[in-house]
Amino acid sequence: MVKLAWRLVVLAVVASAVAFAAQPAAAQNQVQVAQVDEQPAATGEYPNLSGVRAFSAETNYMSLPGYLRWMVFREQSVWLSVPEAKRIVAEQTGG
């Protein structure tokens, strides 16, 4: 049991080292980092997702309603319900 635990620890260390090596070396050379409070969210209409492909990289592999909910939450800190998001996307896409 102890041996297994040690193996797991060693594996974790190796995996971390590999992941670190995969990062570009210059990644730690930060010269400027913005450290300020975020401004209030934009307050226009909801994002229009017509023309965006669902379940692809451009929707972060989410459905269109799911992506709309995510975007609205990021920008407004408010969750749309799933049925609401479906309704809004249907209106936007004419679906």
Binding site: A22, A34, T43, E45, A57, N60, Y61, R74, S81
Partner: protein, 610 residues
Amino acid sequence: MVVRARGEAYRGGADRRIAPSANRVTSRKPSRTARLHSFPGGLSLAWLAIALLAAAGRAPAAPAVGAHVDLAAMPATLQGAELTRLAESGVTGVRMPLDWNRVEPKPSRFTWKADDAAVNAARAKKLNVVLILGPNAVWAVDAAWQVPPKERHCSIPKNMKLWERYVRQAAVHFKGRVRYWQVREQPNARNFRGARPEYLRLVASAARTVRSVDPRASIIVPEPGALDIAEIDRLCSSDLRTSCQVLGVYLRGNGEASKSALAWAVLDSEVPGVASAQKPVWVLGADAPILPESWMQQYLLSAAYHAPRFYLPASALDIGWVRPLSQLRYTGFLRLGPAIWALAFEDASGPVVAAWSADETAVPASDLAPIADAEAVKQAAPVGGEPGSSVTVDCDTLGLRLTPRPVLVRGLDLSQAVHAGPPSRADVLAALPGNAPDPAAPVFVDYSRADSPEHGLYNRSLRTRVGGRAEEEIHDGRTCLRTRIYTGPREAELDNPWLYFDVDDRWLYFGQGKTPVAITIECDGSYLGAERLGFNIWYDSTTGYRFSPWQWVAAGSGWKRYRVELTDANFSDRNGYDFRINIKGSKQDIWISSVTVERAAAPIVSYAAR
């Protein structure tokens, strides 16, 4: 006193001065007020007003000040006191919600007691009343939508019949007492849980219903943004242009005088939907709470563009400034920001200069009015302040201490100095700080350049935006912009997949898709392999914000360049930026060494055609 031929800070615009003999202004184009004559609802009144103005030979009056307040929700005693205060402040009207939940608390059960009392009390004080249709009745929301109870007032009715019944009952009940009806309060993502087409249907339905009851009634359609001219353009180009009679706008936040002036200038003369329909533009409030001095600045700017009405929250009203400023009649401008503003007015006492500065600063009086009269300057005071309290004397030079609260200087002879008419786009842009980028050359960010790393394209000022905390980092020998993507329980706090950009307004502003642009992004390849890193561009277009198609970044190290061409770009500073690079959907961060925006010369394949 030093006399100068013209204010030094003024660097552009048409030459429009007051004729010295007449001491009157001849504008190069008719004012919005003058253009009201072709607006159907105000035909005869507008002609009458113009005739009276012409006969009197006076500049158009400052906007009538109104208060935004929910009188019906107040106890009767407070309501009376508030109305007295408003009337004494110089307010001429009130704008208040006709809360659907209050007048129809249960389906088909209408009760008007509170709103009747409020409307009658306001009218008794000679205040005109604008009623806002909304917010939504919570019982009218479809339960299947699962809207949280506390958010249902922001939703929409489950069917249009419910909405039309409420609107019709209201129009019938207040016919003859209320002429102006607004449809919902600032229908943005914060206040309106619905799609744009759903909002447009509510407006169209309300307009049809109200005007079927009272053909003299006017419908106010509010914009969702903050002086969002692109959205206003869309609204006025939609079917609503014929069914709505007044356009309502909300102001930007504190310290945004230049941005507001630019939006006003374009709205006044270039937004086709507004110009062709010739709709009056009313200020309905601000997008967020703003300081008293900002209200004053915005009021003076609105006067310059002849907004007929200016509403602000009752809590922001102060007799100390509403009374004196609402007596002013705009005659022209002396100097436009960004640091120092000076607009020219007249009132019963004669010419008045209203000047302010974003930060407290002392300027020679001659900087504002080349023919500054010492005795007049010595009486200068901030609005509501003691005469002379804004005067400085430095080495025998008479100066003015300018602050964000406008300073009024009365009695100056402005005949040689004033540029007549509202400031145009060129006037406002010419007054912006710094050098204007060459319109024929690209604008770019390249943080490896020691000089001018942001040349007409800006990201640094936008790094406080949600999800946009970009970092500058040395990567493979270049100073790059990098993202920080994160997925997990602290995503809202730590995930920064967006790089915001603002194109210099002097290079491109409200292009209406007539100027195709190409955005070239140079970035490092994907170290995780193919289809692990990609991006698209979320940009301000003629149809609102939209995404460009997704672009994968090639695998392997080395710098890659990607060119995204946009034929429908309409960069208008909406929400304070023009586009953002989005990498959400990628499995790694991006290191961007440069972003370049240029005018696309040749016809390009349109992404707008998707």
